[in-house]
Symmetry: D2
Subunit: 365 residues, 4 copies
Amino acid sequence: MKNTIGNAVTLTLFGESHGAATGVVLDGLCPGIPVDRTAIERQLDLRRPFGAISTARREPDAFEILSGVYEGKTTGTPLCISIPNTQTRSADYDALRTVARPGHADYTGYVKYHGFADPRGGGHFSGRLTAPIVAAGAILLTMLREKGIDLGTHIARCAGIADRGFADPAHELPLLNEKRFAVLDDAAGEAMQAAILAAAADGDSVGGVLETVVTGVPAGVGEPWFDSVESVLSRALFAIPAVKGVEFGDGFAISELRGSAANDPMTVDAGRVVTLTNRNGGINGGITNGMPILFRTAVKPTPSIFKSQDTVDFVKNEPRVLSLSGRHDPAIVHRARVVIDSMTALVLVDLLTGRYGTDWWKERK
Amino acid sequence: MKNTIGNAVTLTLFGESHGAATGVVLDGLCPGIPVDRTAIERQLDLRRPFGAISTARREPDAFEILSGVYEGKTTGTPLCISIPNTQTRSADYDALRTVARPGHADYTGYVKYHGFADPRGGGHFSGRLTAPIVAAGAILLTMLREKGIDLGTHIARCAGIADRGFADPAHELPLLNEKRFAVLDDAAGEAMQAAILAAAADGDSVGGVLETVVTGVPAGVGEPWFDSVESVLSRALFAIPAVKGVEFGDGFAISELRGSAANDPMTVDAGRVVTLTNRNGGINGGITNGMPILFRTAVKPTPSIFKSQDTVDFVKNEPRVLSLSGRHDPAIVHRARVVIDSMTALVLVDLLTGRYGTDWWKERK
Amino acid sequence: MKNTIGNAVTLTLFGESHGAATGVVLDGLCPGIPVDRTAIERQLDLRRPFGAISTARREPDAFEILSGVYEGKTTGTPLCISIPNTQTRSADYDALRTVARPGHADYTGYVKYHGFADPRGGGHFSGRLTAPIVAAGAILLTMLREKGIDLGTHIARCAGIADRGFADPAHELPLLNEKRFAVLDDAAGEAMQAAILAAAADGDSVGGVLETVVTGVPAGVGEPWFDSVESVLSRALFAIPAVKGVEFGDGFAISELRGSAANDPMTVDAGRVVTLTNRNGGINGGITNGMPILFRTAVKPTPSIFKSQDTVDFVKNEPRVLSLSGRHDPAIVHRARVVIDSMTALVLVDLLTGRYGTDWWKERK
Amino acid sequence: MKNTIGNAVTLTLFGESHGAATGVVLDGLCPGIPVDRTAIERQLDLRRPFGAISTARREPDAFEILSGVYEGKTTGTPLCISIPNTQTRSADYDALRTVARPGHADYTGYVKYHGFADPRGGGHFSGRLTAPIVAAGAILLTMLREKGIDLGTHIARCAGIADRGFADPAHELPLLNEKRFAVLDDAAGEAMQAAILAAAADGDSVGGVLETVVTGVPAGVGEPWFDSVESVLSRALFAIPAVKGVEFGDGFAISELRGSAANDPMTVDAGRVVTLTNRNGGINGGITNGMPILFRTAVKPTPSIFKSQDTVDFVKNEPRVLSLSGRHDPAIVHRARVVIDSMTALVLVDLLTGRYGTDWWKERK
């Protein structure tokens, strides 16, 4: 199980940046879920580069559904989405075949695959593979929203600039999820984009922190220990190549508190058990407690920069100085956000299907 | 696969805090690995409560190896370690059966298991279950060290006090791994212990951050995407109930840098590809690059405190005020460290076995 | 996942014939299932050797439930059953350490485990490991029967003597499942036992064919392709070391028919879709069709015989002539029957839990 | 893990008979394996209908490799093969949407997928899905043959006519594997084809038994219990919808023998441990013993026949009489043979990769 994630519902990922196609196979879905091409296109569009803050490579992402959908609905059998690659300019990469781009997987992929991996555009390690994940995510997000579970991600920090936090997620999510540059405070978003452009002007790049909230998940979902909600979500999030940190609730900050401040006091509100704070991010002992699930993901700055860098030719085993040309993103944090939403949706659909059965979606009011 | 982790080598966890026993089944190990009861006892001892900074419950951890070892060596068939529970004082918990301890899994476990879970001492969610993990970890750590892979964890922060970072891990690890309170700077350790006692005197608790380094892992280990080294390690680390954050390399801090600072420059040193900095924590694209693997784990303050807390009776669905008695840890960060080492060793042995085959350990010089 | 089977509900097997214990960990069970020690003892008793037709080794099978049961019911967390070994006479095996018993796994186990496997009594390959499987099966069979699913196995053939087939399984099963020597026609059973004794008198052994029927499984259970009901059942059945063939419905005989005879005609009976014959054994395309599931399992003659045999010393790589002493079964087919029932119950509980969710058992009328 | 099989090397299957495409994702392959389009076409050709004994539907099987191959060799990342469907005549099936074809999965698929599955041509249950399995198998068979492992399948029985058995597999396999109608005795093959045509003339169909031999697998491969060679092979074989029985070595016949006849005597030949007979089919205790692996697979007669049949409309829940038109195979046993070879190759590559590591193929002489 290398490029497959999930238990009751699984996603298998394939493809290379400059190969014939990238794609996913989604298996274990409830039959009868509407599959809306427009919803998929909309999510792909949110992932797509835009404006001056993104790479000039603009894939049309003309996805094909090869299986698993009949008369506009899921069949319950494996759903394969393929996205042919078209805008490849592999010549950009020819000079790089044996020279590692620092911060990328060129050297590690070379060692792992003994020189046989497709090196063009990062091959199987490329961010291009998040496109079919996002296409699959569109179906999964539709499923969840129809059952009262919503989720979304904002850019909590980028280039040193902070967005405000969620105040009332249930009401903030619909608007947030329409935004191409996902911030709660648009002024912060403007400042972030200016900072991205400034880094781009320097031939450099920036990173950021994404914060995700999920509302409407019932209490009692998840497993103790190895399939804790934190375990399965973090596994999915760290699959995204640029992610270097994940924290739930107050995360690293909670470790600075005393227990009396960190324990979320509980009460009964309208007949329902709730916590008065949510420092544990909606999860206790790996199981959801019915409060919003909250986590943050650290995204490193795009490793492709135009400044010259010290590196190596890993075939000749010699030092090199590298100056990249080509088309690169000065930031991906704003594009990564729909990838995080998609991975989160996958994990939730998997957990709910495992707990409530294959047909939970159809049977749930 | 709920309480099982791993692919080529798996660990299955069972037990409750006040049941007959806790234990693990380790499967997929290379035959012929020496199993040293003293090494297991030593690791269990490092996990055991000690002094005033720990709970008064002192389990002897008299483990039994039920299978998988013959004439002092692994057979290659499943290795079961059982640790009978003896020092249980379940009466301490009687009053709590329907009252949630904030920050614990009482309420979530009740909902998930419909009231059938063993509620005594946290049942299957109890930190007691880390004892058999540590016993298994002792075997795994021995395996790794014999092949030149070492690892260890220090308390990077506790109660607001910082330890110094690793300077020369290969030389620091042997000494660190002997310490009962694992810090690199003993003065910082004294201050941390004083702070833990101060919290305990207030009937309160503290958390901390653990930093782990692994040396000697060759380049090329791990998978892209869902079985990235970050993915599989974070899944294992977040299995520990108190963990709320995991970051690799510079982690959240790397998201504040520009790419030119975040990309680790590369060179050739003594014929070997190395990076000049290690902000990516020894991992690129999910695959090891041959540099030390470095990560930090945020541990929340122990939820069991003696201050009164607002909570609920989840059966009667009514608010309650809870004052805990019994035996509790004012901090677990110093005990959690060998658990992290054990989970890390498990992940590494699994990855190495998957890559190099069942007999890698025997065949590797 | 080597010694683990199942997806939603898993069973992990550990132990050696002459080690400290054999056992299983069952995970993913619905919470609240009654666990009745008497029911477990009864199933273990049906597996135990009896009379002159079985080995003189009589293990008391004094099982211990180490976890997963609280106040007489499953907790929903991993259920570990351990059966300590007590009646071991390992000296019987000393002379055999490097001499392969033909038909056994001595040589293959030696090669696979490089000489480190526990060789006493077949070690991990021993039929002793079916005891904890049977103990687990008792819980699973209770679950199924409470929900209207019954199953049982009779000795269809033994030593060339045939039992009659099932005529009305729903009514035949309760009586059959009480019998120590499970035949539908007691006269056939007497003849089989006489034939077993005759073989024993010759220092030889016999095999047989077991036929299993399952009633009450609803239509729509199973998966196409790799998790077809036939696939998952056959995987479980071939796990039993002596099994060399598995067939569903008419099995090998159906391949001799024409389609017009092999296709089970369908009709509606009392508002329910049924087939008029059941040559496909209740399964079409890997999915149950609501008719009884029917399959046969070929069990080879016990390989331990007292006649002298040509074999090898696999360490010295030399031919040997072997004459076994010790305690051995002249037939195991009558004991294997509860093992088959247990494996079948496990597969069904796993499939039903995957399809209907963790709590299907509790929620199902 | 529903439509996925394997541990170290996995195959994920997708597609429907009349959808856009069928395909597979193969993951975990060693990098550097040559991928030869001609070899794939040749295997697909052996699976393709031919002559009067097969359906008139002739798919060109114009496969596309979407990922995982670069410069003619495997990259080590997921290899996706897609075979677009082109020769669909779905109108043939319109009348059948709610009428079950006896022996097919129409009714069971309807129940399982609540009426949402693609019903055209059997949808995901169609034998069409074996085409991409065969394409993948071509790569796997090439791998194995380059390392001295060969395998092949002959039609041991068809329509009551028997082929002779293997006498000297190593020498018989190359010729056998070139044959379109795979028999060892061509006269028997002629008689079988005549019998198939006779059944076709009656509007009926026939089944058969396929016998497979594998040479060159070293001793020590496989696992005890649930991943025994018999377990994993039978799981793969029963995935093929028409398979109703699997037996290893002497299979059902061994259950009629006494132990003294069933135990394969052992000796040392040219320094190597061998058995003098091979009634256990090269497997003891689930582990290979170095002798040829031998098994037989029972294939039921094609359920699509032109005789009128009693059946049901499963939506109206009413009896019906069905007379099929369209294009159907009077036998598939001769086409199934390359599917069995492919599934066998997959299982072996998975077992060898698990045992010897990801790079076993590259490193093995």
